[in-house]
């Protein structure tokens, strides 16, 4: 039966139908829903791994054992798991292994705009690229066939617009696949003597995959009436091209983006006057065409930054662009994402900013501590970079930064790749203060469980890693826990740990205010008569507090009852008793 399905859910459906039995992933926008969706199928074992490297290695183990396996991640997650990728490319697989990677052109929720297609070429593994949900199902299934036929892991490349768009699909039935495990050291033990023999296998495999690409249905040509131009494209760019051009120009749609066909592209180029490549981000198809010695129009016309749209493609092809609608003359203020009302990170950042502490930050909701009015963060690079960054910062200044610098990292990010940084702090003895903001969930990607939450992907209770014990075990002697809603306690802890002559960890612990089990207090009460308009409460950047004109026109602090969770942080700031916790018995 036809249904509307999100691109990521469609990937999960394809995995399910292909008989995938093992899934290990780390959440990351826009890839997260693939694994959330596959977890709903009881036939499939699915888990959140602590990071993408662990996920990929686990998926490899499952493939080796003879079960079709999958690991999913966002583009930057593929950097984390690049190490196993480049060598699993040599070993090949037993049962099929598919690696899902979702790029984020336009950086809706990412720290860079990398083009993951380069990994396919660099690691010498095939990459399929669906353009809608129906293709997501079909390509996930095809990826397993290719994986087993050509003895290779296969990359399944998504992007924000394919991952997060619903389109019409017709789900099919599941098959079961199982391969016997046979010991094969020459294939699976990659030490130099064996790897030397595997590398030629990999190069030969790519050549046979090119032959496959020449005749594959997923690399199709859709003829057009006007051969003055022919367009090679893939993924969401294909949709924009067809939206704009319809059946006017011939279009070659590449479903397998690596390796690409050679003869097929040459023949297509010969059939049109001007060869145009429309692809988001880097020159990849275009570079391939240039390698084939073809004259091609590409990145000198189409931008290498940001995502495309139909109007952009129309404009660059010199075609009709619709007139924009009317707008008001007033400047429209931006509405950036903010920390939610009741967010436990807010008060921590207020305290750090107030004490003018240098904050080496990390990836998560708490990156929003960088935004005014808190503006408390100095750098954010990648998952785990806070602790190692603070270590380098502290060491480099030979004591001058001691007592003035902290690393801030979330519970999930700490488990992902913060631990190794902390080991380095302990081992190489820097006087680094690490603050783990433990909100008991992976927040930014939409509430996924992690090793510190005591729950697994399927929602069942499981082993809960104890952060205090873990930090002490790696050699940190000073470990303490604070409640960030308590401003005084938090400030005291930060000052004491910064003053201490050795490394320390402060665990700032309070569950995310959006978690269903978290009970909110009644909204904070406000008294405009007592408010002296000092605006101290505005310094925490809470969306529930605003300055509103009273009867006499004076701006006074008021609380939005629909947003306020009664966390009470603002009441601790007000010196005049204008903001108060609501009495429970009312």
């Amino acid at each position: 039966m036809k249904q509307l399905m999100l691109g990521n859910e469609a990937v999960a459906r394809g995995l399910y139908e292909a008989g995938c039995a093992f899934v290990s992933s780390y959440p990351g926008t826009p890839s997260t829903e693939i694994t959330e969706a596959i977890a709903k199928y009881s036939e499939v074992y699915a888990e959140w791994a602590p990071n993408e490297k662990v996920a990929m290695e686990s998926a490899f183990g499952a493939s080796l054992a003879g079960k079709r396996s999958f690991c999913g991640m966002k583009h930057v997650g593929l950097n984390v798991s690049a190490d196993p990728l480049f060598t699993i490319a040599y070993t090949g697989v037993n049962a099929g292994m598919v690696i899902g990677v979702a790029d984020d052109a336009g950086m809706h929720s990412s720290q860079n705009e990398q083009d993951s297609r380069h990994y396919a070429r660099a690691a010498k593994v095939p990459m399929l690229e669906p353009a809608d949900s129906a293709e997501a199902i079909a390509f996930a299934k095809l990826a397993y066939e290719l994986s087993e036929q050509f003895d290779t892991p296969v990359l399944l490349k998504m992007c924000t617009r394919v991952s997060h768009s619903q389109s019409v699909v017709e789900p099919g039935e599941r098959i079961e696949v199982s391969k016997p495990y046979e010991k094969n050291p020459a294939k699976y033990i990659m030490m130099p003597g064996n790897a030397n023999k595997r590398h030629p296998v990999v190069e030969a495999r790519t050549r046979t995959l090119v032959e496959w690409a020449e005749t594959a249905d997923i690399n199709r040509v859709e003829d057009g009436s006007d051969h003055s131009r022919g367009i090679i494209t893939s993924s969401t760019s294909y949709q924009y091209v067809k939206e704009v051009c319809g059946d006017r120009y011939p279009v070659m749609k590449l479903g397998m983006i690596w390796p690409m066909p050679e003869k097929k592209i040459r023949d297509f180029a010969a059939s049109v006057e001007e060869l145009v490549v429309v692809e988001e981000l880097d020159s990849f198809i275009e570079a391939h065409c240039l390698n084939l010695g073809l004259k091609v129009t590409g990145k000198e016309v189409f931008p290498a930054i940001d995502e495309f749209s139909q109007n952009l493609v129309a404009q660059k092809l010199g075609m009709n662009v619709p007139c924009a609608g009317c707008k008001v003359d007033d400047a429209i203020p931006a509405r950036p994402p903010v920390m939610c009302a009741g967010c436990p990170h807010r008060s921590l950042y207020y305290t750090l900013a107030k004490n003018k502490i240098t904050v080496i930050g990390d990836i998560g909701c708490y990156t929003l501590g960088a935004v005014p009015p808190l503006a408390a963060v100095d750098s954010v690079v990648c998952m785990g970079a806070s602790i190692s960054g603070a270590h380098g910062f502290t060491k480099a200044l030979q004591g001058a930064a001691d007592g003035k610098t902290v690393a801030v990292i979330g519970d999930s990010t700490f488990m992902h790749s913060g631990i190794t940084g902390l080991v380095n702090v302990a081992y190489n003895e820097s006087n680094t203060t690490v603050i783990i903001v433990d909100n008991s969930i992976t927040g930014m990607t939409g509430h996924q469980q992690n090793p510190t939450t005591g729950m697994n992907l399927k929602g069942d209770p499981c082993t809960k890693i104890d952060l205090e014990t873990l930090c002490r075990a790696v050699g940190i002697r000073r470990v303490r826990v604070v409640d960030p809603y308590d401003l005084k306690q938090t400030e005291t802890a930060i000052k004491e740990e910064l003053a201490a002559p050795e490394a320390s960890v402060i665990i700032s612990r309070r569950p995310c205010a959006l978690l269903k089990y978290v009970k909110h207090n009644k909204p904070v009460t406000f008294d405009t008569d007592k408010c002296r308009s000092c605006k101290l409460c505005m310094k925490i950047g809470c969306p529930a507090i605003s300055m509103t004109a009273d009867a006499s026109g004076k701006m006074k602090a008021t609380i939005d009852n629909t947003l306020c969770t009664g966390c009470g942080v603002c009441t601790q700031l007000c010196h005049f008793g204008a903001l108060n916790m609501a009495k429970e018995a009312e």
Partner: protein, 190 residues
């Protein structure tokens, strides 16, 4: 049939995903090709959010571009003003008059434009602005503002009332069905 384009815009957390789910369900039963594009992740968190709903014989692009929207349904007035360039010349803006201050306004770094509903009209936009929040509260929950807006939008389409109500039934939990049906009717009659 030419592709029709509906944008649903608002503030993260206002419930625009339910509105697009409802539209998707309804359009699927009518046999259209459909694409619905959503925003997840960082963009939510109280930020500006937009959902694109497109349907017709064959839909290619998952997004709607400037000058293409037949309808913009806005949950918040500033968000309505932010996206009007996406309307077609004869497109229509269905807007909730609710105002939610963004952080730059809260901190005093920017001003929320005054009399925005009037300015939208004066700019030549076909705007149908009404207080959907009050109607949602009247139906029993401020959270039903999404269904009130869908009720109001429903007047612009030929689908029968039963078809809309059937889609609501498939999209909301049973215990909230009556509330949502009431919200839908209040919006439809507003």
């Amino acid at each position: 049939m030419k592709t029709s384009n509906i944008m649903i815009v608002g503030v993260g957390g206002q419930g625009s995903l339910l509105a697009s789910t409802l539209l998707g369900r309804l359009l699927l039963t009518k046999g259209y090709d459909i694409k619905v594009s959503e925003v997840h992740g960082m963009s939510q968190r109280g930020g500006s959010v937009v959902t694109y709903v497109r349907f017709g014989d064959k839909v290619y692009s998952p997004v709607i571009d400037k000058g293409e929207a037949d309808y913009i349904v806005s949950f918040e007035l500033l968000e309505a003003a932010r996206w009007t360039e996406y309307l077609k010349k004869d497109g229509k803006l269905v807007a909730n008059t609710q105002q939610i201050n963004p952080m730059p306004v809260i901190t005093g770094a920017a001003q929320y434009p005054e009399n925005l509903a009037d300015k939208l009209k004066a700019a030549g936009i076909n705007v149908d602005a009404f207080d959907a929040l009050s109607l949602a509260e009247q139906a029993g929950s401020s959270k039903a503002v999404n269904i009130v807006l869908m009720g109001h939008l429903s007047r612009s389409f030929d689908f029968t009332l039963d078809e809309w109500l059937d889609a609501i039934e498939k999209s909301v939990p049973a215990k909230f069905l009556e509330l949502n049906k009431k919200a839908f009717m209040l919006g439809r009659e507003a």
